[in-house]
């Protein structure tokens, strides 16, 4: 455990500050870890030269700042991974889709630009479900990512969750100190739960969407994936902020999230939504949830039963709204200007060939669903009704938050499943998002914290949800759960510790 790649972000930050090691050393350790964990297929593109260059520049800045030449950034010298949905200047950006073949942006997304400004360096671009559509990172054109965890006594390869599965696997395997994810219906939280790490989806509008390949604009939100809550607070602080180039970006100060961590939960009212107790839930998941309540109670919080009556409509609502927006957002991939083009005799044929070849089955399915629900004659029955339900779901949360400060729920209905499972059953796959989707529809901040292991030794997460822009309370509660859970189990495949 002395390897540099096994440090937390906060430890690495402090070690760099003390001069225990350089960013170049830290980065080299991560590059080695990344290379050692290639069997996970966590990365679509590795950028070791870029990472080392950033590290050198950071070390130079640190030398100059130590001699009074300006302050080190909040993520100075820390190597991280970037979900391949963020456009990165001069670096292939694929959204894990064939249709973006060869697409190298001339621009840098706001969130990644913020991270580089804070001093971080990029190790590579991580794999995801194609266009972030999926819950297992199995729909990627670049092949599935493998979860570094295995069931005890079983070597079957498991999914890392999705869509930010590459990021989750890389962070769990210690191949990156942290990684960016994006969450549309659970794409940060669910893979965090599957890989035993912390995943934070901030309030919609907290991080700019500018330069992130769009899936569903009204839901997409970037967030950090890290091994500790503190690391999540550090990284979110660097990612967040108002951006005039995103009309939905919130013009608000970014609080010092790290400072909120140790405020404790004494006196906090924690809501337990009764509707999240679903039929057929596994006893171990229920037990974990109960454990979470006990931990928070012991830390001084009060458990309050609340009702979110429209919860059962969240999943169908999500699977109308998100595909509807996606069907329109993905119209720009037409073979005319960038990415894949498959020629045809006519314009129509070129469109059909390009999109037919370029999009995988899940993306095609969602584009078709989205086109259908927006069509004349179906719009009112589907899209409009879904919008109304979305309003009701948000109202449920608002009313609950009149009574409580934070909600505690499981993150996902199951631990990681095997690659190949559920792949022929989209509905079963969609059910993965049942606990994460409601907060997405309401635009609320939510975090998944690793809290325990399933009977067969796989990580399980608990989810904390708070008011819009009250990430600080979320971090306080998350820190309390983390502290009580003392989750220190390690994945089977972990780079750099000899396993």
């Amino acid at each position: 455990m002395s390897e540099l790649n096994c440090l937390t972000m906060a430890q690495a930050r402090d070690g760099l500050a003390k001069g225990d090691f350089t960013s170049v050393e830290l980065t080299q350790a991560h590059i080695a870890a990344l290379e050692a964990s290639r069997e996970l297929n966590a990365f679509v593109t590795e950028t070791p030269e870029q990472a080392l260059e950033a590290a050198k520049a950071s070390d130079a800045r640190r030398v100059s700042s130590n001699s009074g030449g300006g302050e080190a950034g909040s993520m100075e010298g820390l190597p991280i991974a970037i979900k391949d949905l963020f456009c990165t200047e001069g670096v292939l950006t694929t959204a894990s889709s064939h249709i973006l073949d060869g697409f190298t942006p001339q621009y840098e997304s706001t969130v990644t630009a913020n991270l580089w400004r804070a001093g971080a360096g990029m190790l590579g671009k991580t794999n995801l479900d194609e266009f972030a559509m999926g819950s297992a990172t199995v729909t990627s054109y670049y092949g599935p990512t493998v979860n570094p965890w295995r069931r005890s006594g079983d070597d079957k390869k498991l999914v890392p969750g999705g869509s930010s599965g590459g990021s989750a696997a890389a962070v769990a395997a210690r191949a990156a100190l942290g990684a960016t994810g994006t969450d549309t219906g659970g794409s940060i939280r669910q893979p965090a739960s599957f890989c035993g790490i912390v995943g934070i989806k901030p309030t919609y509008g907290r991080c700019s969407r500018w330069g992130i390949v769009a899936f569903a604009s009204s839901l997409d939100q970037a967030g950090p994936m890290t091994r500790t809550v503190r690391d999540g607070a550090i990284m979110l602080g660097a990612m967040a902020g108002h951006d005039a180039r995103d009309s939905t970006s919130a013009d608000r100060e970014v609080p010092d999230f790290e400072a909120a961590l140790e405020k404790g939960v004494k006196g906090l009212k924690v809501g337990i939504p009764e509707e999240y107790q679903m039929k057929g839930m596994s006893p171990e998941l229920l037990a974990l949830w109960d454990q979470g309540k006990a931990w928070l109670t012991a830390a001084g919080a009060e458990m309050v039963p609340v009702s979110l009556p429209h919860t059962k409509y969240a999943l169908p609502t999500y699977y109308i709204v998100a595909p509807a927006e996606a069907s329109s957002n993905l119209a720009r991939y037409d073979g005319v200007r960038y990415g894949l083009r498959e020629e045809g005799e006519t314009l129509q044929e070129m469109y059909e060939n390009t999109r037919g070849e370029g999009f995988g089955a899940e993306v095609t399915r969602r584009v078709l669903i989205g086109t259908y629900v927006l069509s004349a004659g179906y719009y009112d029955a589907y899209y409009l009704k879904a919008q109304k339900l979305r309003t009701l779901i948000s109202r449920d949360f608002r009313e609950a938050f009149d009574k409580v400060d934070v909600l505690l729920t499981p993150t996902a209905p199951s631990p990681a499943f095997a690659i190949g499972e559920k792949m022929d059953d989209p509905i079963a796959m969609y059910l993965n998002d049942v606990f994460t989707v409601p907060a997405s529809l309401a635009g609320l901040p939510a975090a998944s914290i690793p809290a325990g292991l399933s009977g067969d030794g796989l990580p399980l997460g608990l989810q904390l949800i708070t008011h819009p822009f009250d990430e600080e309370t979320m971090f306080r509660a998350a820190r309390a759960v983390e502290d009580a859970a003392a989750f220190n189990a390690e994945p089977t495949l972990m780079a750099g510790d000899g396993s």
Partner: protein
């Protein structure tokens, strides 16, 4: 005559117009790219206009101001909350695969436009709505034998779609609508109104019915690019529909294209083939909220508009409505007139501007802004008439010379020696000579042939090269002949 004669009786045309007006603005509706006309292809394209992955639209404040200004100019209600929607369809010059437009909640609601018709008549036409939307790029089909080239300079440029009620009944009214709308847009400075460059484009909805009947099925004629063509297209389309119905057929609701080569319209796509645009609110943009204060600020900055100006010209300058309409159609013309009329005989000024000046401009194809005779110069000419230096006839010669050379009236008069002779002594000498030369006619006149008086005047004027003051000539002649 507002009815069309068919074989089975009279028919009424029902016409509504949808005008796409390119908004005058330095930047595009949702990006900072420039909008100048005629730039090299693909040189005014931002990442947003090219719909690169992850790019997001941000509304341009100027475009919103211009839409509100236009709405106020058309006495329309301004919606403080409006919503941008996506209109989805595939075409290579539409990079996003959707156009950002406004569908159920436009920025401007109902308004009114007053048509100026022949003989000074007016008629009101309802404005249904105005909404903001993005223009598409341009497909260039003639650059390569098998490929189409795309120019995205226009992609994302701000358009206002101005929709009228189906209130017009003749092609002439449609023409008057477009002229008036263009005039108001130019007054407001919200659109340059240039139909040739495509900054003003018109779709016409046409149907026919028997007087008093329900509305008939309409056809939409797309993208007609001059006022004359709009009138031609409507006329052709109405006659086509009448013939069809009278032969026992029915009109199909469809979109048609106007062929300016032969003045006909032809089917472009039927209702069944119509796109399903799958409109839905653009999730990249919040509803557009503007404050009443913002609207009032714009209202306070509105210029005097053609209708108000016309009314003022009638009441302040004593002009007829038709002349006032002519002078106020363009703001530059109205300003020109007012400069000429200032401190002068306003009716005389009107005659000179609408007569001689418009004649010269029409002949040379120039706009008022390029007039070879400035307002000050025309005023100077009128002053020379007023102080008796020039007769009306001489003034016309002077004006011609001014138009040709661009010189001041006084300079022309000086150079050509065209100054009117009012010195009675000099005129008397000319009169004496004429009377002497035509002694026989003098005798006839004195014998009772009064009509010959005009002949003597003419001879004197001819002898003086038109420079003699006609009043003085009359006086002297009367004295001499009467004596």
């Amino acid at each position: 005559m507002t009815m069309l004669q068919g074989n089975t009786g009279d028919w009424e045309m029902v016409i509504g117009l949808e005008v796409h007006a390119q908004v005058i603005s330095e930047a595009k509706l949702f990006s900072g790219a420039a909008t100048a006309f005629g730039a090299e292809p693909n040189t005014q394209v931002s990442l947003v206009d090219a719909a690169m992955p992850g790019m997001l639209p941000v509304i341009n404040r100027v475009a919103v101001e211009q839409a509100v200004r236009t709405g106020l100019g058309l006495k329309a209600e301004i919606n403080l909350v409006s919503v941008f929607d996506r209109k989805n369809y595939f075409y290579p010059d539409l990079p996003q695969g959707y156009q950002i437009s406004q569908f159920p909640k436009p920025i401007v609601g109902q308004g009114t436009l007053i048509l100026d018709l022949a003989g000074g008549e007016t008629r009101e036409v309802g404005i249904t709505r105005i909404h903001l939307e993005q223009d598409a790029g341009k497909s260039l089909h003639d650059q390569h034998p098998s490929n189409t080239f795309i120019d995205l300079n226009r992609s994302g440029v701000t358009l206002m779609e101005i929709v009228s009620e189906p209130d017009m009944r003749t092609p002439e009214e449609a023409g008057a609508y477009l002229r008036k709308l263009r005039s108001i847009l130019r007054y407001l400075g919200t659109c340059d109104g240039n139909m040739e460059q495509g900054s003003l484009r018109c779709d016409a909805n046409v149907s026919v019915r028997r007087a008093g009947d329900e509305l008939g099925t309409r056809c939409e004629i797309k993208n007609v690019n001059s006022i004359r063509f709009v009138q031609q297209a409507i006329d052709y389309e109405a006659r086509r529909q009448i013939e069809l119905i009278e032969e026992g057929g029915t009109v199909d609701q469809e979109t048609r294209l106007f062929d300016s080569g032969n003045g006909t319209t032809r089917s472009m796509r039927s209702k069944e083939e119509a796109h399903d645009y799958r409109y839905f609110p653009d999730p990249d943009l919040l509803p557009l909220e503007i404050s009443q204060g913002f609207v009032e600020e714009i209202r306070a900055s509105l210029p005097e508009l053609p209708d108000a100006k016309k009314e003022r010209f009638v009441s302040d300058y004593g002009l007829g409505t038709e002349d006032a309409g002519l002078l106020t159609a363009e703001r530059a013309t109205a300003d020109f007139y007012e400069e000429v009329a200032k401190g002068r005989d306003s009716k005389l000024a009107c005659n000179w501007v609408t007569g001689e000046l418009f004649g010269v401009l029409n002949k040379s194809g120039l706009g008022i802004g390029d007039s070879p005779v400035s307002a000050a110069a025309l005023g100077g000419l009128i002053d020379l008439i007023a102080d008796g230096t020039l007769s009306g006839r001489l003034a016309k010669d002077v004006f011609e010379a001014m138009a040709e050379t661009g010189k001041e009236a006084s300079v022309v008069v000086e150079e050509k020696g065209l100054k009117q002779v009012s010195d009675s002594g000099a005129i008397e000498a000319e009169v004496d000579q004429v009377l002497q030369a035509y002694a026989d006619k003098v005798a006839e006149y004195k014998g009772g042939k009064d009509k010959l008086f005009g002949f003597f005047v003419g001879q004197v004027m001819k002898a003086t090269g038109g420079k003699a003051n006609p009043g003085v000539v009359n006086e002297v002649l009367k004295k001499k002949l009467g004596g």
